[in-house]
Symmetry: C2
Subunit: 460 residues, 2 copies
Amino acid sequence: MNLRVNRAIDSNMKDVVSDLQNLIKQSSITYDKQNLTKCAQLVASIMTKSNFKTELIYLSENEKDGVPPIVYGEVKSRSNPSGKTILFYNHYDVQPVGPIELWNSADPFSGHVEGNYIFGRGASDDKGELISRIKAVEYLLKETGDVPCDVKFIVEGEEELGSLHILDFLTKYKKKFACDCIIWEFGTVDSNDTAIIHLGLKGILSVDLIATGPSHDIHSSLAVLVENPAWLLVRVLGTICDNSGNILIKDWFKNVKPTTDEEISAIANEQFDVDKFKTEYGVLKFTNNLEGAQLRKALIEMPTCNICGITSGYTGQGSKTVLPAKAIARVEFRLVPDMDPATQFARLQTHLFEMGFGDSIDLRMIDGEMPSRTSINDPFVKIVKRAAFDAFGNAVISVSSAGSGPMYNFKKVLGAPCVCIGGSYIYNKSHSPNEFARLDLINKATKCMANIIQACGFVG
Amino acid sequence: MNLRVNRAIDSNMKDVVSDLQNLIKQSSITYDKQNLTKCAQLVASIMTKSNFKTELIYLSENEKDGVPPIVYGEVKSRSNPSGKTILFYNHYDVQPVGPIELWNSADPFSGHVEGNYIFGRGASDDKGELISRIKAVEYLLKETGDVPCDVKFIVEGEEELGSLHILDFLTKYKKKFACDCIIWEFGTVDSNDTAIIHLGLKGILSVDLIATGPSHDIHSSLAVLVENPAWLLVRVLGTICDNSGNILIKDWFKNVKPTTDEEISAIANEQFDVDKFKTEYGVLKFTNNLEGAQLRKALIEMPTCNICGITSGYTGQGSKTVLPAKAIARVEFRLVPDMDPATQFARLQTHLFEMGFGDSIDLRMIDGEMPSRTSINDPFVKIVKRAAFDAFGNAVISVSSAGSGPMYNFKKVLGAPCVCIGGSYIYNKSHSPNEFARLDLINKATKCMANIIQACGFVG
């Protein structure tokens, strides 16, 4: 912990917030290529202003209008040229904003500050996290004239789309990205202001199930003769899970690796504020009446099958009596080690086929990511825990987040331990209307990142 | 058949089409009160121009901004003051237009004419039918200086919403609307140019099933803990129908009245062009592999349960990984004599309760209408059949349409037989994008209506 750096962070919070505000104002929804590009340029200019060596990296010259670039930033240590290298992974793309009418502000990209809160899509996920990391390096440089170890930044533009090309980028630029440890794009702070250090992520398999009926929406009186694709979809979905949410697909759990004893005892030490959770999400009880340690275990260990959305026909005002031409369900499975999305997708395909829906349902993979975990015993975990404890006042290890991301690819290609730590308040409404970040946590996260970089400078 | 009237209709088709075009251009979606009112005024002005005694009828003075008015039109016979009265029932409201991107024209209310076709929402349902009836009376008046029997028009503005107030109107204005026979708002012409004379309508019960989850769309990784309302909805729907579409609600079929022998033999004489149907709707086979006479029987006799729409969460571009706050299904049951929507709704309620969804599903009635049939032996049926045969070249009796409407209320309050006859081509895309009417059938329908009015003039 460097008190001068901490004081610099404290006295420059206006500057930190102002950069975050500008980043939020530059909308960057994952499929909005034009704004994505503008946002990448803005991230690069903020890094350059902070004295990073910065460049936009493309997969190929021809793809300038296709795959969004990675914003790459680098700061070399002059005093410790043969030391370790720490890599920060973040993303500049954000989730779609809808349903727009549920935002308190007319503009979901306002970056509006109110007391301790800054609002807007991306405020926490992931622009708040990104700014705290850039600023940690900036104030280290300003206050000490150097960084104690080499620092690299990878900021991608397809995270919310499932990091479609991150493996290609990592493979192509493996040397450039070489590092000894990785700080993941997000980190959670719970409702007791304790930093949660997640050591892993769940995997994900996201698919569309598409049922097709008549060539256009037709008059519903014809339901006597024409099969309704919405009914077909309901039947298909009914074969995937039972009434308790248990997944019925054959061999679905075959590759699940048992949790280690060390992981089990770590889970026992995790915190979970049941009442706060219920209030925040407006729920009265948990699925299958889970309680106590079961809740924490479920978040870490339980594979899920979630319906992200169903769209078919008309449910608006008035009595539009149609038999819809099409019905779509977006279904998303969360995976635990060692479930592989490609294998699970094949199992789902086989399931549909065996249930008799092979011809009638169009199954499309939308996203697939492997689960991943870093060992509890990795020395980097200790460094992060100490740094987080100093910055946040409290920190606990969590075996895995319930969330997902391409951590598996980073670990596989770069061969470095990977840890989630950051300043995102657990109830920050990311992916929901009225997403926000807490300014006190941005401040602490910035200090935490400076602490981590300094500690890495001492590692031989 | 009056050749002078027929010739007048033929030589004034430009005028007929022009009035229809103006009517289509005045959009009148059922919940768009402002345009509905404008459309009612336009209908009244067209009737006045045709020399009807015309007025807008409201349920009460205070409701001028609430319930859309009925446009009432009347023409008394001078030569036959103690003769019969024929009443035409139509509506000026139309279905919503979506999905807008599937319309070939940018404007669904263009009234654009191309050869034998006029396009636009309402072209067939019901503005084309309405114009043919007004114009039949206009040319009778112009060519003969009189009508051979009294003629009344009721044109309502809530048909597509389930005729929410028609019973109130009929009851309040029972004397004003008194009549001896009723021509229903629509009539179908099949792909062999044969007019189908439907003697009845199915009933309808339309409901919303609403499942509620967390207070807002939340991050899908929480599916381990938080129940997903889309899953709940899928489970509920799965208890309503089996995989063959059979309705599983207790006592659902209890009040179904057996079809009479006369109806059975009428069904045997009906036509159904299987190949044309399949091509028009882009289907390869029928539900449960129905064929031959089963198809016609199903259209008339089979109660259905159709999903008009399901809406929940997100299925758009990108991977928006949410657990939705809400899931809605619009489910519509078609009913046959003597199923009563209120009774059937109560049975559905009981079903949800017994299946354990009583507390978790919010069930709301959107629309309810009784089924209704006119006797095959009614003398009015013969008049219509003869008139239709003369105008269209061919006509067949159909025991019932597969469609629905408030026919039961008309028969109950006014005590008159009610028959569906008109010029709507069976594949006119009503309720779908690119709705159209065929000008040759508008012409024939106009002649048919003139024939019917003339025949009613001869009835003692």
